[in-house]
Amino acid sequence: MLMASLRNLLFRRVYTCSTTFYIPSLQLVRPTSALLPSLSTLGHFLPAPRISGQAKEWRCLSPLLASFSTSSEASTNEASASSYLSVRIRCRKDVADMLSDALLCFGASSASMDEPDDCDSTDEISINSIFTECQDVGACISNAAGSIGLKDMPSYVVTMGEHCDWIKKTQESFHPVKISEDLWIVPEWRTPPDAQATNIILNPGLAFGTGDHPTTKLCLVLLYSLIKGGEFFLDYGTGSGILGIAALKLGAALSVGVDVDPQAIRSALQNAALNNVGPQEMQLCLVDSMGNPLSAVGTTDGNVKGQSSHGIRLVAEKEKFDIVMANILLNPLMEMADHIVSYAKPGAVVGVSGILSEQLPQIEGRYMQFLEGMSVSEMDGWACLSGRKRITKYS
C-alpha cells in the first residue's frame, strides 16, 4: 500500500515518462445517467485516451469488448470536430465545489454538478465534466485532485459524446413564438399553430436568432409597425436571417443581410430557402469586423465563398436603404455607428438593439448625432432604440 503522497509523486513521474499505468478504483459499469442515453461506454485504462476514428466502429460491437481495449490507438485526427469527451467523476460532497473549480483550471471545458435529491443518503456526488477530444483526462483529474489536497484519485468514467446529441436536445426546446396577431415564428420541425397568419419557418442551427429573445421580438415589433411595402431593408448582424425574412414577408422589396460569421450566412441561406425567398429578394454578405465586404452570396448559391458582385455592390452602396436594423452588441454598435448609419437614406429609420437597458445611455449619446426623433422600447431589461436619420448635419 503506497502512502498517498508517494502515490501522487509516482503518478506525476510516471506520466512524464509517458508509460502506461493503471488508474485504480476505476468504475467499469456503464453509467446509468438518464442525461446521456445515446453514448457508448469505453472504460479506459490508459491515461491518454486518444479516441480515433476507430472508436466509431467499436460502437457497433458489444460494450464489454470495447471496455477492455488497452492497446494504444493510432492517432487519426479526423472526427475531432464532431465529438467530445464526457467524464463522470465521483467524489465526496464537501470537496465537489473545489474539485470543479480545479478541473476548470487544469483544462476541462466545463464541470457540472447535479443537485442531489434530499433522499440521497450517500456521501458522494457526481461531477460531469466535458473535455475536448485530444485532452489527457487522467492527468488533468490527478492534477486537479492533487491541487486541492485530495489523497485519493477520484474514480471516473470516460464516455464519448457526439455534438449532434446536445444540438438535438436544445432544438427540442424551441416552440412557435407569437410576435403579433398575425405574425408567428415557427421552428422547422413544428407545425404552425395558425395557418392563416404570416408564418416564418426557421431552422437556426448554430446562429443567433430564434425569435424568442426579447431583442428579436422588439425588432420584429418595430418592423411590423414600419413596413408599408416596397422598402429596401438592411439587417446588420443578421444571424439566422430572421429579421430580413420577416421584412420580406411583411412587404419589403429587398432585404440584405450582413454578418461577420460564415455560419450565420449559411444559416440565413437555409432559412431563406425554407421560406421560399428567392435571390432577387434576399442578398447575404459576409463582412469583416470593420464592415468591409468579403464575399456575397445569392440565395440560390449554397456556398458561402461564392462571389456575387451584385451583392457586394449593393452592400457597398451607401444611402440606399429605407430601413436599417442592427441587433448585435454594445461594443460593435459603438464602434461602427458611422458605418451602420451611412447605409440609410436621409430620413430613413435606423433601429439598434442587443443592448441592456443599463447600456442605453451610452448608445443614445453615440447615435444622437445621426438620428432625430429617437424612441426607445424595452422588454425584460433589454432595449431597442430607433430614430430617423438626420437630413441636415447635427450641429
Binding site: Y84, S109, T170, E172, L206, G209, N331, G354, L356
Partner: protein, 155 residues
C-alpha cells in the same frame, strides 16, 4: 438572509454548471453547447445575455461563469473575472507555474502588478467586502504557491 418571499418562490435547482467562456464571444458551440445542452437550457438566450454583460471587459479574456439551472429549464448565471492564477501568469509572462514552488522561481513581478490585479478583482462579487490590502495579501499568497517572486521594482 433571503426574504420570506424569496424562500417561498425559490425554484428547485436541477444542476450547477461551471464554465470558462471568453468575454463577448459566447457561441452556441463547445464549450457552451454540450454543457448547457445537456440540461435543455436556451443556448441563444445565455449567449446573448453573457455577451451583453461582458461587453465592459477586454474581449476574449476567459471569464468564469457559474450557471444555476432550475428544473423548469430556466437558469440564472453569475460571471466572475478570470482567476488570480490566470492574471499572475499573464503579468509574469509565463505559461504555467513553477513545478517546485518555494524552490524554483518561475518569474518575478512587481507590487504594481499586484495592485492592478487587486483593483480588477475588487469588482468580483465575493471580494467586495475585502479591503484592497487584504486582496493584495491573498494575491501574493497565490503568487508564492505558483513560484512567482514579488519584488518592489524590477531591476
Amino acid at each position: 438572509m433571503s426574504s420570506l418571499k424569496e424562500i417561498l418562490t425559490r425554484r428547485p435547482v436541477a444542476a450547477t454548471i461551471r464554465l470558462t467562456v471568453p468575454a463577448g464571444a459566447a457561441r452556441p458551440a463547445p464549450p457552451v453547447g454540450p454543457a448547457l445542452g445537456q440540461y435543455r437550457l436556451n443556448l441563444m438566450a445565455f449567449c446573448k445575455d453573457f455577451n451583453a454583460r461582458t461587453q465592459k471587459y477586454k474581449p476574449d479574456i476567459p471569464m468564469a461563469v457559474t450557471i444555476t439551472a432550475f428544473k423548469d429549464n430556466t437558469f440564472e448565471f453569475t460571471v466572475k473575472s478570470p482567476s488570480v492564477t490566470w492574471y499572475l501568469k499573464k503579468a509574469a509572462g509565463i505559461e504555467s507555474g513553477s513545478s517546485r514552488p518555494g524552490h524554483v522561481i518561475a518569474s518575478t513581478i512587481t507590487l504594481k502588478h499586484i495592485y492592478e490585479i487587486a483593483k480588477v478583482k475588487q469588482s468580483d462579487p465575493y471580494c467586495q467586502y475585502m479591503s484592497l490590502e487584504a486582496i493584495c495579501k491573498s494575491i501574493i499568497g497565490t503568487a508564492n504557491t505558483m513560484g512567482i517572486k514579488v519584488q518592489k521594482e524590477l531591476d
